[in-house]
Amino acid sequence: MPHHTPVAKRHGDRKAAVGDVGRPPVAWAVPGILFFAVFAIVPLAIAVYLSFCTWDGLDSPTLTGLDNWTRLFNDSEFGQAAWLSLVLTTVSWVFQTPVALLLGVWAAGRQRGRAFLSAIFFIPLLLSTTAIAMLFHALLDPNFGVIRTIGPWLGIDPDVMGSSTGALLVVAFVGGWQFMPFHTLIYQGGARQIPEVLYQAASIDGAGMVRQFFHITLPQLRHTATTSSVLMIVGSLTYFDTVLIMTKGGPGTDTTILPYLMYRTGFQTYDLGYAAAIATALVVVATGVSLLMVRLSGFGSMRSTREGM
């Protein structure tokens, strides 16, 4: 509608003219951006700075150059923590993806009782990680827990938390228990968007349920799977409460994953500069993964997805 009141053209604005009447000044966004910057972006920069310092939490941080970083790369504890984080992430992905996929596809259907079951499935996501970790700590207590009864029946040693592999698997399981509803919902949303026609065509061609699942549902869910996987990976890289509450990094250091090592270094031995280096390493990995997310799943093009609404 170019015939309305002409308005000062804003720089870089292709449509300009009337479109600009009543548009909010960009300044409105400034408080929000500043606030976010102060408590999330600036600290990130300071973390990088602190990774070049020693700091005991009391005196001022002193610059020590690359000390923390050379130490990091030669530190077998860091190496172990990085390895455990990798293992935990892999195990979590392998455990959560198939279950979330199946549950999500199932929940996208319209069978009876689906809504009710979905409501129950959702519950773990409401509980705090603290509560969940404490609950499983109690359930897995060899003297009290359900593990005493159920364990032998499932072939699980009641002292599962006492074994290194067991403890790590438990951490992965508890994380899965908590976040499964979230990933299920992602897959459910994805499955709902698969065009019905595909299934109709497949049925006409005589494809059975299993073939439909492998030839239509799975390929159609690949973007969904990318999104879910990346969130899963970033999520399990940052498990912390579960480890602190259930295992304290143990037995020994066998569940000391990166976030827990960072916490222990920073807030128990007050070696905060080194902790900042570990945190920076963590954020490099997490950002790498999330950049991948932006590239692979097309969130970068979110702004242009308005059509079809």
């Binding site: 409105w28 408590f39 499935f121 609950l135 994805g190 900042a276």
Partner: protein
């Protein structure tokens, strides 16, 4: 931190369910997948057994819980454990947590609504830069900034106050808030803005009388998520507060664990009590919560 798999990036559609209601009932699709149906029953057990034990054992006396079968129905249910928990300062914890949650939601909404509105309504480079920053912000793990925050909060003189929890929690809830809000606000049609512009409405009025009312769904989703995040947060309270007066629920629970030691039924009762308020919200706001999460995987 408990919320670290942040309920990330709900896409432009917050209500994917709406156009699908009227789908033909003969839908074949992934519906009858028997494998998935069977799997879902198994998962039902995996979800329910711990929850059942949580509630049932919290009603047992300590010796019954220790000697009997934890899966059995309590023979002589008692609320004694709940009494024990309530007597050990539980109400202070709830009070503090409620303050943190309410303040967080208020800050998030007051700051995110204008950001999202600007991101949707202006085409300047700054607004798109801001939007992208928030997009990336979704992926910043709280652990990455906890050391500097410890330093900053100390310098600001806020250590061991509830503000020390509220401010970072609100900041970390903002990326998702901005994404959800700009998603819903993008759905407000340009024609409506133009109509209001013809009436000579100011940007403030357009925000207040058009964008905000039409984005109510997104706003409530954001409010619930931020509240949930504040309610369940653990890392910020753990590192940034210290004294008993400033203790929030998650930290209080953590302390109960050592305080009650082997009195597992009491620990479980504390967990149940901590969950009740969330449950109440869930029952009221289930739809907003789920709609906010769905569609994340959309194309």
């Amino acid at each position: 931190m408990s919320t670290d798999t942040r309920p990330a990036v709900p896409q432009h559609r917050t209500t994917p369910a709406t156009p699908r209601r009227g789908r033909p009932a003969r839908r074949r699709g992934p519906r009858g997948n028997p494998v998935a149906g069977f799997g879902s029953l198994i998962w039902l057990l995996v979800v329910l057994v711990p929850l059942y034990t949580l509630v049932s054992a919290s009603l047992m006396r300590q010796d019954e819980a220790l000697n009997g079968d934890p899966l059995a129905i309590p023979t002589d249910p008692t609320f004694e454990n709940y009494g024990t928990v309530l007597d050990s300062g539980f109400l202070t914890l709830i009070g503090n947590t409620a303050i943190v949650a309410v303040a967080t939601v208020a800050i998030v909404l007051v700051l995110s609504v204008p950001v999202a509105y600007v991101a949707v309504r202006t085409r300047s480079r700054l607004s798109s830069l801001a939007f992208r920053t928030f997009l990336l912000g979704v992926a910043i793990p709280a652990q990455a900034v906890i050391v500097p925050l410890y330093l900053m909060i100390g310098e600001m003189g806020l250590y061991d106050t509830l503000w020390a929890i509220i401010l970072p929690t609100a900041a970390f809830a903002m990326p998702v808030a901005v994404l959800v809000l700009s998603g819903t606000m993008r759905d407000v049609s340009e024609e409506m803005y133009e109509a209001m512009a013809l009436d000579g409405a100011s940007p403030v009025r357009m925000l207040w009388q058009l964008a905000v009312p039409l984005s109510r769904a997104g706003i409530s989703t954001v409010a619930i998520f931020s509240a949930l995040q504040a309610w369940n947060g653990f890392l910020f309270p753990l590192i940034l507060t210290q004294s008993e007066e400033q203790r929030v629920l998650t930290l209080g629970l953590f302390n109960f664990m050592s305080q009650f030691g082997v009195n597992i039924p009491a620990v479980l009762a504390a967990i149940v009590l901590s969950v009740i308020p969330i449950f109440a919200v869930y029952l009221v706001a289930r739809r907003a919560l789920i709609n906010g999460l769905m569609g994340v995987g959309g194309k």
